[in-house]
């Protein structure tokens, strides 16, 4: 009985959207309260469901209503239902006042509700058709949410980019669904996964084992949704939409790629090379997203590229077999990116009063009588990046597992924590502080939390989402690479971090910005390339214009018949 709550949680926003539409004439702007109340109820019910799941009161995995209306109430869907409804509730409440002056107020809340319902169905769909339908609807509703201001052609132009990229991502999922149905004769995901686990190589398609082909198609669908490199250009340009929509998009919708990969974990566990490619794509996206973020002068665009980088990280985590870590990452990212977007307006407002350009140190000391600010010692900060992860590795060895040092997946997890933590230390190193030791302590604490997060929280997520230890091992095994390649990768990351510190040291000694003539020219060329966003948008625009002009020429030749 309690398991049917998940159905109610999905239907609640649909009902709310319907009521919002029907009652807008009578209730006016107060109609939005129906929407907020329904979302609040969704949050409460999702919370109850999560509590039942954690306390072991939920029996079973899915409810079947018809051949293609099957709903999961497993740990993944329950956890994500709570996350989605919670983020949606925050966006709803924020929008109450933010959108108050906008036209189409009721339509906005109706679309928000429909989007929430689609996202909830997407995470809970236990059959391929419901999944494809929800996946498709997310793109459609996002298009109309981004184009909330129907007077703005530019909002619709960029909304179109989003929609067309999402449609490109829909197609591999449709193909994967059809191929799975042809092979197993059912739309039900639990049944398909069970049969797949029993005999993974029973079917082949296009001359390849079925899991490999499905893995590639699912990864492609996830890449489009999570703005991975070559399919990322829509994300930083969708800023003409309302801020709450940006928050919802960056905090929830864009994470769909990671959710999809997690949903198809049993398929990926039976692949041999797909996850390695997933890792490479994620890595490229993370690097390019982070680099492009640094050159933006628009806060929302900068946050857009930051999201691309974060999604790259999330996909990389899937690529190393740390599927549950990707879920933890997407939740954490959703919370902090949602907050950043919702506060972007006040940052812009503040920037109008204070440009934020740092004042000269001599000026602040002599004129403003402020104490001289100092930078943290280079050697100390470099030492923290090396000692803290080592200490945590040893603690993990005692607390988590005896053979922690021997697990490739665990070492990679620690490396992820290390890279993230090193980024944090680099960032805090660059900031000047009046109280040096206070900042050093904060840095150590934050760094430790990041690494502990990766090691312990990911372990907790692992146990909740994938309780079967053998399956977790299988996932890591599917993602593992040869020992020599793994060692080279570890060495490369170590070298990158060490070189990073050396560059920081060198720059400080020589003052940043003073490059020799040759490296200066190279730097300028590189800057020009990234400031034009690698010419990706120009290329796509050219391609679009070519297609449209060919269509036009064809019509003229064929006399429009």
């Amino acid at each position: 009985m309690m398991s049917k709550l998940i159905l109610f949680i999905i239907l609640l926003p649909v009902l709310s959207a319907l009521l919002t539409h029907l009652l807008q004439g009578q209730l006016g702007r107060c109609v939005a309260r129906i929407s907020v109340a329904a979302t609040l109820l969704s949050v409460i019910l999702s919370g109850v469901l999560l509590w039942l799941s954690l306390s072991g009161h939920l029996v079973g995995e899915s409810i079947s209503i018809s051949p293609w209306t099957i709903i999961y109430f497993d740990s993944l869907s329950i956890l994500l239902a709570l996350v989605i409804s919670l983020i949606s509730l925050i966006v709803h409440i924020y929008s109450l006042r933010y959108m108050a002056e906008e036209s189409g107020y009721a339509r906005f809340f109706m679309l928000l509700d429909l989007m929430t319902a689609s996202l909830l169905l997407m995470v809970a769909a236990a059959d391929l058709i419901s999944l494809v339908v929800a996946w498709h609807f997310v793109g459609v509703f996002l298009y109309f949410l981004l184009g909330q201001d129907t007077r703005s052609p530019s909002a619709y132009r960029y909304a179109f980019w989003t929609l067309i990229t999402y449609r490109i991502g829909d197609l591999p999922l449709v193909l994967a669904a059809v191929l799975l149905f042809q092979a197993y004769g059912t739309w039900s995901l639990p049944v398909i996964f069970e049969q797949l686990n029993q005999s993974p190589n029973a079917h082949s398609v296009f001359g390849l084992p079925l899991p490999e082909v499905i893995g590639i198609l699912i990864a492609l669908a996830a890449f489009a949704r999570s703005a991975q490199f070559l399919l990322h250009t829509w994300l930083p340009y969708t800023m003409d939409g309302p801020t709450p929509v940006s928050a919802l998009m960056h905090a929830g919708i864009v994470n769909a790629g990671g959710i999809l990969i997690n949903r198809f974990a049993p398929v990926f566990a039976n692949t041999s090379d797909v996850l390695q490619w997933v890792f490479i794509v994620g890595f490229i996206s993370a690097v390019i997203g982070s680099v492009l973020m640094l050159v933006q002068n628009d806060i929302k665009k900068s946050l857009g590229y930051s999201t691309m980088g974060q999604m790259g990280f999330m996909v990389m985590e899937c690529g190393i077999g740390a599927f549950s870590l990707a879920i933890y990452h997407l939740i954490a990212h959703g919370v902090f990116k949602g907050t950043l977007f919702l506060s972007a307006g006040s940052v812009i407002h503040k920037a109008r009063k204070d440009d934020g350009v740092p004042k000269d140190e001599l000026y602040t000391f002599v004129v403003e009588k402020r104490p001289v600010i100092t930078r943290k010692p280079w050697l100390l900060m470099a030492a923290i990046t090396l000692i803290v992860p080592l200490a945590i590795l040893i603690v993990s060895h005692w607390l988590v597992a005896e053979d922690y040092f021997q697990k490739q997946g665990a070492i990679i997890l620690l490396f992820f924590g290390w890279i993230t933590g090193a980024q944090l230390i680099f960032a805090t190193y660059r900031t000047h502080a009046t109280n040096l030791w206070r900042l050093v302590m904060i840095s150590i604490l934050s760094f430790a939390i990041v690494i502990l997060g990766y090691v312990f929280i990911s372990h907790a997520f692992d146990v909740y989402l994938y309780p079967d230890a053998a399956f977790r091992e299988k996932l890591f095994a599917a993602a593992s690479i040869e020992k020599i390649r793994f060692d080279i990768l570890v060495a490369l990351i170590t070298i990158t971090i060490v070189v990073g510190w050396l560059v920081a040291y060198y720059s400080e000694r020589n003052r940043i910005g003073k490059h020799p003539r040759y490296t200066g020219r190279l730097w300028t060329m590189f800057y020009a390339l990234i400031s034009r966003e690698l010419y990706m948008t120009d290329l796509y625009t050219l391609l679009t214009r070519t297609i449209l002009s060919s269509a036009n020429k064809l019509n003229i030749w064929l006399r429009w018949n």
Partner: protein, 254 residues
């Protein structure tokens, strides 16, 4: 199947260049009732001819049909006339009916043809509504319909979504069926179908943006009447009926 029959079927389940006949006729006919009759009847004549003979359809015809569908889907991108867009989409969709000529019974085949045509009938009615209000149904001519006639725009949006095979409308399930039929035996055809589906979405969004987006034209404000509530509900009922019937027939409501 004798060649003359193939030619005849190629006219009604349009194969390029025979497809130009339907499009020329549809553009020539201006009356909305006649246009609806054309849309309703045209593919069924082709299906009736096909099912009256028991010959298998040769594979090259399927390739030709897919090429026709792709050609019209591509050409839709550059169209501005709503009526012409409608006839091109009909051509692109009906050409696909060749894919299921071998494994579907006659009545189911007719249901498929009706399923993909039904939203086009609604679009023909809306196109006539635009012509009545503005004198022409063209994109980028007046724009801003969402501001000037919001109810009409809302219906137009849903009808275009239905026409381009958005879930849960019949076109979506029919496209799934086409993809299922070709995925194993003809993978190239599957990729072509997916590409065509993408082009429909692109063309649909271009049509929508050219009609509903932008500031309301000052000439339109106060002069153009919106869709009345009764008509609006009629469209809603038909669209809901289409969704329910397609969900029922595909097994989702069992």
């Amino acid at each position: 199947m004798p060649d003359i029959f193939l030619l005849l079927v190629g006219l009604f389940l349009p194969l390029f260049p025979l497809s130009m006949v339907f499009n020329a006729l549809f553009n020539r006919v201006q009356h909305v009732v006649l246009r609806c009759l054309l849309l309703l009847g045209w593919p069924h004549i082709g299906l009736a001819i096909i099912h009256s003979t028991d010959t298998n359809v040769p594979t090259w015809i399927i390739t030709w049909a897919l090429a026709t569908s792709l050609l019209y889907a591509l050409r839709m991108l550059a169209l501005r006339g709503v009526g012409q867009w409608n006839s091109f989409l009909a051509t692109s969709m009906w050409a696909m009916l060749w894919l299921t000529t071998t494994d579907l019974n006659q009545s189911m085949h007719h249901v498929y043809a009706f399923g993909i045509t039904a939203p086009l009938l609604l679009l023909a009615l809306l196109s006539a509504g635009l012509e009545k209000r503005f004198g022409a149904a063209y994109t980028d001519l007046y724009g801003g319909l969402a501001q000037s006639i919001p109810r009409f725009s809302g219906v137009l949006v849903v009808v275009i979504l239905a026409a381009i095979a958005t879930p849960l409308f019949p076109g979506f399930f029919i496209m799934l069926k086409f993809i299922m039929d070709t995925s194993v035996a003809m993978p190239t055809a599957t990729f072509a179908l997916l590409g065509i589906w993408l082009l429909w979405s692109w063309a649909g969004v271009r049509l929508l943006q050219g009609l509903i987006v932008g500031p309301a034209s000052q000439n339109n404000e106060g002069e153009v009447s919106d869709l009345n509530l009764m008509s609006c509900w009629s469209y809603a009922v038909v669209l809901i009926a289409l969704i329910l019937s397609s969900v029922y027939l595909s097994g989702g409501l069992l």
